[in-house]
Subunit: 352 residues, 2 copies
Amino acid sequence: MASGRHQGPDDDAGPVRPTSRDVARSAGVSQATVSLVLRDKWHGRVSTGTAEVVRTAARELGYRPNLAARSLRLGRTRTALLVVPALTNEFFARVHTGAARVAAEHDFGMVLYPSPEIAAPAPDPFGSARAALDGVIASSMAVEALATLRADGLPLVMLDSDPGGSEATVNLDIADGMRRVVEHLVGLGHRRLAHVTAAVDSWTFHARARALADALADTPAALVRTERAELTVTGGLEATTRVLSAAPDATALVCDDDMLAAGACKAVRRLGLRVPDDVSVTGFDDLSLATAVEPELTTVRLPAEEIGANGMRALLAVLEERAPDTGVLPVSLVARGSTAPPGPAWRHGGAR
Amino acid sequence: MASGRHQGPDDDAGPVRPTSRDVARSAGVSQATVSLVLRDKWHGRVSTGTAEVVRTAARELGYRPNLAARSLRLGRTRTALLVVPALTNEFFARVHTGAARVAAEHDFGMVLYPSPEIAAPAPDPFGSARAALDGVIASSMAVEALATLRADGLPLVMLDSDPGGSEATVNLDIADGMRRVVEHLVGLGHRRLAHVTAAVDSWTFHARARALADALADTPAALVRTERAELTVTGGLEATTRVLSAAPDATALVCDDDMLAAGACKAVRRLGLRVPDDVSVTGFDDLSLATAVEPELTTVRLPAEEIGANGMRALLAVLEERAPDTGVLPVSLVARGSTAPPGPAWRHGGAR
DNA sequence: CACCGGGGGTTTTACGTATAACGGTCTGTG
DNA sequence: CACAGACCGTTATACGTAAAACCCCCGGTG
């Protein structure tokens, strides 16, 4: 005997969950039959009548399969890990939303690791969760932390970055976005741009810097200054203050992110100048913040939910040994009030 | 014979995970001993030397316990469900951060359900995840969706709301926050306030409305208008436009959320007025948005991470049959540029 | 009439872990 | 010297599911 149950004198009022065996007993069949019927694998092996009896019994008992037992049996957990820097960044919250939606559609679970602790890689950054995963979706981040996951043989899908060795990557057309920003500003007449870049060691920000340089190469405009900023509004404010003191002749500020752009606008005004009349400002990501500030930000809209959704789809494909769809997602420019032609002072070539 | 493995000709290069039995073989002991040693339950039952041998073997093989098997054995999953409206709302992203941190500290997993689908309750809102949970933490939301969880006997901790019947609640001192807002505004000289409330059927917003009314009762000021707004910047803008056309004599707008407040500021300016010179505006939550807009928002700072953390702590307490700590978390007023004494036009009692 | 095939199930086993129950081998003691 | 405990383990079992292997009965066929 010696039941494995740990409870003393029936201390919990909670109703004991029915098992497939309970359903079997109630339906007058064997447990195996219940398993077959409830997973729709019974065609030609169980009569229609019996199947119906089983389904009814399951419904009446409120049966739900025990996922732990199923996972143990199958060796798969139907759970994916999503690794993103921080959900308080709206972009990643939206990535999560997209991934979660697709996961739910496929009856997949999702565990989330916001990664402050990953920046300082612990011996085992992902704790015990590692053992219960089928795959990983990660945005650009500390690669060595991912190595411990890879060592477990977990399939990995990278979002908007490519450290090499991942099963699939889902990318945003960052280069195109930056090109559109440059075209927009140059088209308005700007010739001296400054770049406020995020001081985050992340693939996407490197890509933005490279794309900005590349895009400018074909134009009459030039990059007169670059400053690194902490990825917050305040960081943008401080970096922009440095930019405008080092390069007061810049007429447009290209910011790597909307938060930085919001900070840039504040800095500009603090110096007694106006946006966009004296200095134009562009953002990136099209966060809700972009339309909360005034003037509203000209920015690049990134399909955040879609990259999350596509990442999850790609992971599911890999797990089912299908070819993942690793297309590059298009982005678009959203022109709003923070950009305008350079101010009159500049039209006459004068100094401010 | 007849292995349960589903693989044909060894189709996966993935290294097979070592089990506790592999560790046992390698260490020259039984599987039971491995289990005892690795969970630190061996004192007085296994010699120090053997324990060390086991630990070494486990480390060398890279052993990690199979969580599915453990869950099956124990009947517990060490996984909690967090139900929040949407992570794109920074407040809930922060709640999540706090809860996730505490969960990680206790080797607990966390699954997340952003709940658009909960608003329209599906037959089984939580999908198959239900079966693999030890408990639930939920913010104020559609109560009938939670009922299906409760039917499974899952412990429930409510955040900043109390539908009754939950094992614990962790609350914010909303009333105190609103009282401070009123004191602040009345202290500045405001007498006619308007309320921009969120059109979301949520405990916290009802609480804010009630608290505003209560706080005003003791003062010479009055509520001249209330408008409901969709919980977005645009929603705040529209509602505020309605407020100011219906009650042009309001000198201060109390908004239920920083996003609404940001929209309110835009609406005020669109009417050719200034914040705070002509109209003061207050927010709620102290999102990062509050310092991104200009003027920066006077708002109520809510300890978002802490309520998440305390919620998780309370759930863990309930699961361990300890008494949960269900204190009310204090909030604070952050006075910034969006509030000031009423403009000169009002000081002389004139109409604008 | 012996035999086959197949429809409609059942029996059995394995997944990896935790733990109750059991069992040897010493050492010291009455 | 027999025997009680410590001490240090081992053996056996159960958790709930999936699925391979088996089994029985019945109608048709050579």
